[in-house]
């Protein structure tokens, strides 16, 4: 039972991270910096609780704010570049963050940051945040800002001639993604009790992208679905032991061949809503 709860908690944190990737992605920005933002949030929150005795919730929020501010600053040069070049910029940033934490003795350096107070209700806090994010993303979907974000993601020039301030939209989305990732990092830190720079490598950022693409990027339910399924799949296949990672990889390949748009699409959301309304 405890084991399942632990896997489910990690899945919850993964949902937060997948949504943190999705926020800037809506405006066409593909970021490999999300694990880096999580690191900033995790270390900031841990410093708050360990060194200053700040309570859990404000510490996690501070972690998010610090990551959000850094995201805002990184978002400025990121505005000018697109696609593969943005990917490289965010990749570089993620690695720099990791190396910087290795060199800060105040937070343990390469040996890691131990003694972070354990939050036993992490499951509820993680899914509480997921719920809040779902409400936010759902409201965003039908709002002016949400439409503007989708328009920018679709075609920047076309969005601009509609009078959308694309600079502001992209910057806000990037900073929001960093803020969400920072809170995810803070929650993770107080669940693991110990953090080290290795935990925030670029492969984790790649994983968040995989969650989103697997689940589908047309609506925010896609990344949520992807994060849940892909967090549980390796656990389900524990009985084949060494083969479970191969199964994970094969699943991704098969999915990209049969449903490249992801599992959850606009149509499937409409279909599910119809069922709920019908009953």
């Amino acid at each position: 039972m405890e084991y399942i709860l632990s896997v489910a908690t990690v899945a919850g944190i993964n949902i937060i991270m997948a949504l943190s990737f999705y926020a800037p992605f809506m405006t066409g920005q593909v970021s490999l910096a999300q694990a880096g933002f999580a690191a900033i949030g995790a270390y900031s929150a841990a410093v708050c609780t360990v060194k200053f005795g700040i309570p859990y919730i404000p510490a996690v929020i501070i972690g998010g704010v610090v990551a959000g501010v850094v995201g805002f600053i990184l978002g400025i040069p990121a505005l000018r570049i697109k696609g593969i070049y943005l990917l490289l910029l965010t990749l570089g940033f993620g690695e720099i963050v990791r190396v910087i934490f290795i060199n800060i003795e105040y937070v343990g350096g390469a040996a890691g940051f131990p003694g972070i107070p354990y939050q036993e209700n992490t499951f509820f806090y993680a899914y509480g945040l997921v719920l809040i994010l779902i409400v936010c993303f759902e409201r965003l979907r039908n709002s002016r800002m949400g439409r503007a974000m989708r328009a920018v993601g679709d075609d920047e020039t076309a969005a601009e001639i509609n009078g959308i301030n694309i600079t502001a939209v992209k910057l806000k989305a990037f900073a929001a993604g960093a803020f969400i990732a920072g809170m995810g990092g803070g929650i993770l830190a107080h669940f693991q009790e110990f953090i080290e720079p290795l935990m925030f490598g670029v492969m984790h950022s790649v994983e968040y992208i995989v969650f989103a693409i697997f689940g589908g990027v047309q609506v925010f339910w896609g990344p949520i679905f992807g994060a849940i399924v892909l967090s549980f799949v390796p656990e389900f296949f524990r009985f084949v032991q060494a083969w479970r990672h191969e199964i994970y990889g094969a699943l991704l390949i098969v999915m990209m061949i049969i449903k490249p748009e992801g599992v959850i699409t606009n149509d499937s959301v409409r279909f599910i809503k119809k069922i709920f309304r019908g009953s």
Binding site: A151, D155, G163
Partner: protein
């Protein structure tokens, strides 16, 4: 309403447009003619703020708009319907039209303009839920113009609206422009390659050649101008 004074503009160090001055008065349809590479699109992009002029000034409604950002210029009512459509292909037809009204908050006026678009282009109403990328070229052009109407333009800039359309559709587009002028009293700056048809719906015209204005006059004058006809239009005077 719009006046451009001695504007030079281009990309990097190479200027595509030299000392161009032109004016569009309220209620007028003004056409800007020129061969490929004459600098028409550069002028439009300078007006809409996509590029900053190297020299000169642009005024709209008496206020200087030189160097303002694109969304600030849209806010003032200068609406650009782009060459190559400029529509949001992954969003639905309805969403595209709603995006046109992005900066407006008068829901009554928006609904009224939506009706107006449907009346002009009934085809769009049939395709409301369809994603814009699946429309035909002509339908995309209707959507692009419809989106422009939704923005409640003070000045509507149409960049080659007949580009790549079938002759029947070109006729339809020019008919719409004529209607804009006579019924809706829109102020329009039109860029066209179909010079004869454009001059017939226009009050006045300017002719650009390799980045400089070489001729200006009323639509009829330019239609009847022998030099222009020989050098560029290849058509004939109808009066």
């Amino acid at each position: 309403m719009l006046s451009i004074k001695d504007v030079s503009a281009g990309y990097g160090k190479s200027l595509a447009v030299h000392d161009v001055s032109l004016e569009v008065k309220k209620g007028e349809v003004v056409v800007l003619l020129g061969a490929n590479g004459a600098g028409k699109s550069t002028i439009l992009r300078t007006i809409s703020g996509a590029i900053k002029p190297a020299k000169g000034q642009i005024f709209f409604d008496g206020q200087q708009i030189t160097g303002k950002k694109p969304h600030e210029i849209v806010q003032r009512g200068v609406i650009h319907v782009q060459e190559g459509r400029g529509i949001l292909s992954r969003m639905t037809v309805r969403e595209n039209l709603e995006m046109g009204a992005f900066l407006r908050s008068d829901s009554e006026g928006i609904n009224c303009d939506l009706e107006r678009v449907f009346k002009k282009f009934p085809r769009l109403q049939e395709r409301l839920g369809q994603s814009a990328g699946t429309l035909s070229g002509g339908e995309q052009q209707m959507l692009a113009i419809g989106r422009g109407i939704m923005a409640n333009p003070k000045l509507l800039i149409l960049d080659e609206p007949s580009l790549g359309l079938s002759p029947a559709f070109v006729e339809f587009i020019f008919e719409s422009i004529r209607e804009f002028r006579e019924k809706d009293h829109y102020t329009i700056l039109l860029v066209e390659q179909n010079a004869n048809q454009a001059l017939e719906v226009a009050d006045r015209g300017y002719v650009l050649q390799t980045g400089r204005l070489v001729m200006e006059g009323t639509g009829q004058d330019l239609l009847c101008n022998v030099d222009l006809q020989q050098a560029y239009l290849g058509g004939g005077c109808t009066t």
